[in-house]
């Protein structure tokens, strides 16, 4: 038996993919926060070492 595979080019699938990609882009804010925190941590460490 073959499962019904949704057509990736159907209206529903394309719109769902756009929504998923838009959600994934919001992870950029998290990346920014982690990078900012890491930068602050390195500055503190270097400050302590100097």
């Amino acid at each position: 038996m073959v499962d019904d595979v949704p057509d990736p080019c159907s209206d529903d699938e394309v719109r769902a993919e756009i929504r998923a990609n838009a959600r994934a882009e919001r992870a950029l804010v998290g990346i920014f926060l982690v990078a900012a925190a890491a930068t602050a941590a390195v500055l503190v460490l270097l400050g302590l070492g100097s």
Binding site: P8, R15, I18, N21, R26, F32, L43
Partner: protein, 497 residues
């Protein structure tokens, strides 16, 4: 103000100019999170145009079979996709490979052969574009390189932006995809995340795109016709030229980070040098050709349809374009200050490299998180991108006396005054010394058995300074009026997708 004071100010300004590209790089990365809210996905929609893919091929027999096969497996309606392989009078088995695929996929793969080749990629592309424009079937045209492997969802994710009639062209994220990448390929993999996944997101936010990646340029038919129905053949940066023309015509260019395609990149410094000199010379030509564009409307956010003239875009463009000059000025400023006003030199050195540390940590962490697949392959090359030498200098700026006193103390050594002076001058002039050492990296690689010593040297010098040196070399070649003949990068079929 005495002459001495004036000299100190001039030298401090030189150091300040050297910091500008570092700040510009940081600004670009600070724009990346804005892409979470300011991207083009809101205007994207269901749109599946009839697409012609043009693949320029000169002796690409080793790579074409795999890339054509992947095009045939795209998640895209088969009746809406045709591939034109433009064979630039290849002398290898390229025609056999294409004809076999054309037989396997009748009507979907077309072999176009130029009787006389060797004129370069743009001429080859134009041969295919003329055929594509000859009938009304084609609604969008995708330009790719013969070695590029398209992921099944990549084209679908690109075309959705053409649902917005304001969009003229779309580009994808080209990821280095060699199956067994060497050191240079890994460095390039990391660099591509910075130059594409990060920088092009920032350019989406700004509303001005520097370049449609050569291996993934999707054009709406209307845009292709508006830019003249031809690709520019007079520069070495035909993709950037088309990108600028598109935007100057009032149409948007969008980067789609979720459309990922894989490409084989050079794995030797010699091959990298050849490829990047061509790119950098192309950028010199573009900068001159579009000299009327820069900074004309520095603060405008709307109107005239493009933002190439904005201060932000111009600042980013020239920060990269003039990077070798800035690095040289920084070093000259610091060394000059060392002899004129040592206290000012110490303060300027610490301040400049303080900013470099902030930029380095923020950019490296962001880049490694932006593309986890590349991070797994290239984390070491990401951390050592500026070079071990630059990291040593960063520590010297942050921890005064570290290398002159503290480290030698650990071994019971004491540096002489002359030794400390020499070390200080090396630190101050490191940005220039690293660029010069890049030539040594290439020279060592050319020696018999020089590959591994060259790689060790590359880690010390850093990939960034090597790219800077290549840009400097490109300036020189352009200045000398060297021929603008197309110099193809060899591809061997290492990509695993």
């Amino acid at each position: 103000m005495t002459g001495h004071d004036v000299l100190v100010v001039v030298l401090l300004v030189a150091v300040l100019v050297g910091i500008v590209p570092v700040v510009a790089g940081l600004v670009q990365y600070l724009l990346v999170p804005v892409h979470a809210f300011r991207n083009h996905l809101g205007a994207a929609g269901l749109y599946l145009p009839r697409v012609v893919v043009v693949v320029p091929a000169w002796n690409e027999g080793a790579v074409l079979g795999a890339s054509l096969e992947r095009l045939m497996r795209l998640e895209y309606p088969p009746d809406r996709l045709r591939v034109y392989v433009v064979d630039d009078a290849s002398t290898d088995d390229t025609p056999d490979v294409v004809l076999a695929k054309a037989e396997q996929y009748p009507g979907r793969i077309v072999h176009l052969r130029r009787a006389q080749g060797g004129q370069g990629k743009a001429h080859t592309l134009n041969h295919g574009i003329v055929h594509a424009l000859a009938d009304d079937w084609m609604q969008a045209l995708l330009i790719m390189d013969a070695d590029v492997i398209y992921r099944p969802d990549s084209l679908r994710r690109m075309v959705r932006h053409l649902a917005d009639p304001e969009v003229g062209a779309v580009t994808a994220f080209i990821r280095e995809g060699s199956g067994k990448p060497g050191t240079v390929s890994r460095f390039i993999g990391y660099e591509y995340v910075t130059a594409q996944a990060a920088a092009r997101r920032a350019q989406n936010v700004i509303g001005a795109m520097a370049c449609l990646a050569g291996g993934a340029q999707l054009h709406a038919r209307a845009n292709l016709e508006a830019v003249g129905g031809q690709i520019d053949t007079t520069t070495l940066a035909e993709d950037t030229y088309t990108t600028f023309l598109t935007q100057l015509g009032g149409r948007r260019v969008v980067f789609e980070p979720a459309a990922v395609v894989l490409a084989e990149e050079p794995d030797s410094v010699v091959a990298l040098w050849k490829q990047r000199v061509r790119w950098a010379r192309g950028n010199v030509q573009i900068t001159r050709r579009f000299s009327g564009v820069w900074f004309r409307r520095p603060f405008s956010t709307r109107g005239a349809g493009h933002r190439l003239s904005s201060l932000t875009f111009g600042g980013i463009w020239f920060s990269i374009y003039l990077l070798p000059v800035a690095m040289t000025l920084a070093a000259a400023g610091l060394v000059g200050l060392y002899f004129v006003d040592p206290d000012a030199a110490r303060t300027a050195f610490a301040s400049a490299w303080w900013i470099a540390v902030v930029a380095y940590v923020f950019i490296t962490v962001s880049t490694l998180l932006l593309d986890r697949d590349t991070a797994r392959r290239s984390w070491l090359q990401g951390i050592l991108f500026p070079g071990i030498g630059a990291l040593v200098v960063m520590l010297a700026a942050w921890v005064p006396g570290l290398w002159e006193e503290r480290v030698p103390d650990l071994f019971g050594w004491q540096l002489s005054e002359g030794g400390i002076e020499a070390m200080t001058l090396v630190f101050y002039s490191w940005t220039v010394l690293a660029m010069l050492a890049a030539w040594l990296v290439r020279a060592v690689e050319r020696l018999p058995g020089g590959r591994w010593p060259s790689r060790a040297l590359l880690y010390v010098v850093g990939f960034g300074p090597v790219l800077c040196a290549i840009t400097l070399d490109a300036y020189a070649k352009q200045w000398q009026g060297a021929s603008t003949q197309w110099d193809k990068t060899e591809k061997t079929g290492r990509v695993v997708g």
